[in-house]
């Protein structure tokens, strides 16, 4: 029941449309406090109801989409910006640089991502910028590692040797011939990572280390809403659903792209099912 291509694209389009609309317009001011309208459920005026300060939930979710998705894209971008050159350099130049780099990678791999980011935000103090810094500090390593391993693999190939012999400048060789090999893998990893980053942001800001109130972020909204979740469950349900839908979308796109680009993983998925081997009648 893998999603058909058309369905996949239409979901993506819908989501992007939602984001674009959220960028320029929200039905109400997401920061406007209306104590008279607090904790309302869905109605024609407030489609998704209002929160504990009477702010329109749909507007806050749209504003939150901007924050959550915006932050995760920013983190992804900076991680790529740091990780890719690092990986290229370390893989191509090798020597002491690569050795030092391997030590750094090993060190970063010791602590799990989430705990590392947690400690960093903890030390720096809660807040949007610190959150971005902490998660980027964790995430760039995986990109550098991926790029490095691809560079090491490609360096052994004849075409690289040939280009080197014919006097091609190293930086040109790396950018023109080796870098393109990394793009497919990077695309897959980055797409799958968006979801992970969103989940990480959400759970860090759920425990109070993310953007501070009143700025709406989906995880922080859940944290605010949980106090009222017996009287006003919509405060908990809708932001949570938004996280699930967004992550689901990026995860399924990531899987889709991986099946398309990553030959290695494709060869793992077997051609015939096992039951046909074990329970086949006759030979």
């Amino acid at each position: 029941m893998s999603l058909s291509i058309g369905l996949r694209y239409s979901f993506l389009t819908l989501f992007l449309l939602f984001l674009i609309v959220a960028l320029v317009w929200t039905p109400y001011d997401p920061y406007q406090i209306q104590m008279g309208d607090r904790l309302q459920t869905s109605s024609a005026i407030h489609w998704l109801g209002t929160d504990h300060l009477g702010r329109d939930l749909l507007s806050r979710i749209m504003e939150g989409a901007r924050t959550t998705v915006g932050i995760s894209l920013a983190i992804l971008f900076v991680s790529l910006l740091i990780g890719v050159p690092f990986g290229l350099l370390s893989g191509y130049i090798g020597g002491w640089l690569d050795k030092a780099f391997k030590k750094i990678i090993d060190a970063f791999m010791t602590l799990p991502d989430y705990i590392f980011a947690l400690i960093l935000t903890g030390l720096l103090g809660p807040g949007l910028v610190n959150l971005i810094f902490a998660i980027t500090a964790v995430k760039w390593v995986s990109y550098a590692r991926l790029v490095r391993s691809i560079v090491l693999e490609q360096r052994q190939k004849d075409y690289v040797r040939l280009a080197e012999i014919s006097g091609m400048k190293p930086w040109k060789l790396v950018v023109k011939h080796i870098l393109p090999h990394t793009i497919g893998n990077l695309l897959v990893l980055a797409t799958l990572d968006i979801g992970k980053i969103i989940l990480m942001i959400a759970s860090l800001s759920y425990i109070g280390l993310g953007p501070q109130p009143p700025s709406p972020e989906w995880g922080a909204m859940l944290s605010e809403g949980k106090t009222y979740f017996q009287t006003a469950p919509h405060l908990m349900i809708f932001p949570g659903l938004c996280i699930v839908i967004t992550v689901l979308l990026t995860n399924s796109w990531g899987d889709f792209l991986r099946d398309r680009y990553d030959v290695h993983i494709q060869s793992h998925s077997a051609k015939r099912s096992m039951s046909s081997i074990l329970f086949r009648k006759g030979v």
């Binding site: 799990p112 705990i115 947690l118 425990i207 992550v247 099912s273």
Partner: protein, 316 residues
């Protein structure tokens, strides 16, 4: 053995750098631990008191001196006392470990109970309904924030049905909801891994030769296929111990479960720096130790992989 030595030296180097960076960062961060410590009593704080406290904690000296003291004490496992409780960080850490290990263990149990049958079934009936359902389960399971799933479970079982306690610890019932929450989140990955691993080994020559020798299907399945496909997963498992411990943090906060995760989050909120640093240090050592144990048991189960498999790949 050499790998472990390498790992430990690398870790020590890393901790040294990280602890120094964290020390420098602490000088820049807003919020004064002394003030927040004294404010606990809710009485007016005089400058004298603050000064006294500073001297008592050694906060009036330079970063390097403080760092030197810290390193010195480290060798006797003394990381100072918690600002919040005044008790040694190491003792508190040791006290919290059993809670987190207990939660991790029960979540692993839930994870195995969900992912093993689902993974096997979806490999056996590849491309059929079971397989599709398990794929959907895995996709949704890896997209749900674990704390949100936990909230929904609390709402259902503790608030609406009133059959399970929602928070705290004390009895085995308190472990049910947190471990189910964590177990579901983890099994999403393992269902697919188990499925892929079984499918991959089902194409190996030895399965065909076993069939050719006339070995029964049941026997092939249990002794040839399962053995061959589940053992490699142990490596994946040893690598994911860390992320499992990371996952317990938010769940412990959600369920007010007094383990390591809640401890560190409370410490961060209170700016309790000795705890934050101690946690960072002990946690890394703890994770490396756990990894070693799993790796050793793995070598014991499958001596064929005595050579580090990661060394087989491309290295410079």
């Amino acid at each position: 053995m050499r790998i472990f030595v390498q790992k430990i030296t690398g870790l020590l180097l890393f901790l040294l750098i990280l602890s120094f960076i964290s020390f420098c960062l602490l000088q820049l961060v807003p919020g004064d631990p002394v003030r927040s410590m004294l404010r606990v009593d809710d009485v007016a704080v005089t400058d004298d008191q603050i000064q006294q406290m500073r001297e008592q904690l050694g906060l009036d000296q330079s970063v390097f001196v403080q760092y030197g003291y810290w390193l010195q004490n480290l060798f006797s496992l003394d990381l100072g006392n918690s600002y919040m409780t005044g008790r040694p960080v190491f003792i508190e850490f040791i006290e919290k470990i059993p809670y987190t290990l207990m939660l991790t263990g029960t979540s692993l149990l839930v994870m195995i109970m969900i992912s093993l049958p689902l993974g096997i079934l979806s490999a056996l009936y590849r491309g059929r309904m079971t397989d599709h359902l398990s794929r959907i389960f895995a996709l949704i399971g890896s997209s749900i924030p674990s704390f949100w799933l936990g909230l929904l479970l609390i709402d259902l079982f503790a608030v609406k049905l009133r059959i399970l306690p929602s928070m705290g610890e004390g009895s085995w019932q308190h472990l049910i909801l947190p471990s189910i929450t964590l177990g579901i989140a983890m099994s999403a990955v393992y269902v697919r891994l188990i499925r892929a691993s079984i499918l991959e080994s089902s194409h190996q020559e030895f399965i065909r030769s076993a069939r050719a020798r006339g070995v029964g299907k049941q026997r092939i399945f249990t002794f040839h296929l399962m053995r061959h496909s589940l053992i490699p997963l142990l490596t994946v498992f040893s690598e994911s111990i860390g992320s499992l411990l990371g996952g317990t943090v938010v769940i412990e906060v959600l369920f007010a479960y007094p383990g390591l995760g809640k401890w560190i989050v409370d410490a961060i909120t209170a700016r309790d720096y000795p705890i934050i640093q101690g946690y960072m240090l002990f946690m890394s050592i703890f994770i490396v130790l756990l990894n070693m144990i799993v790796e050793w048991s793995y070598r014991y189960i499958n001596p064929a992989i005595a050579i580090d498999p990661r060394k087989k790949g491309v290295t410079s």
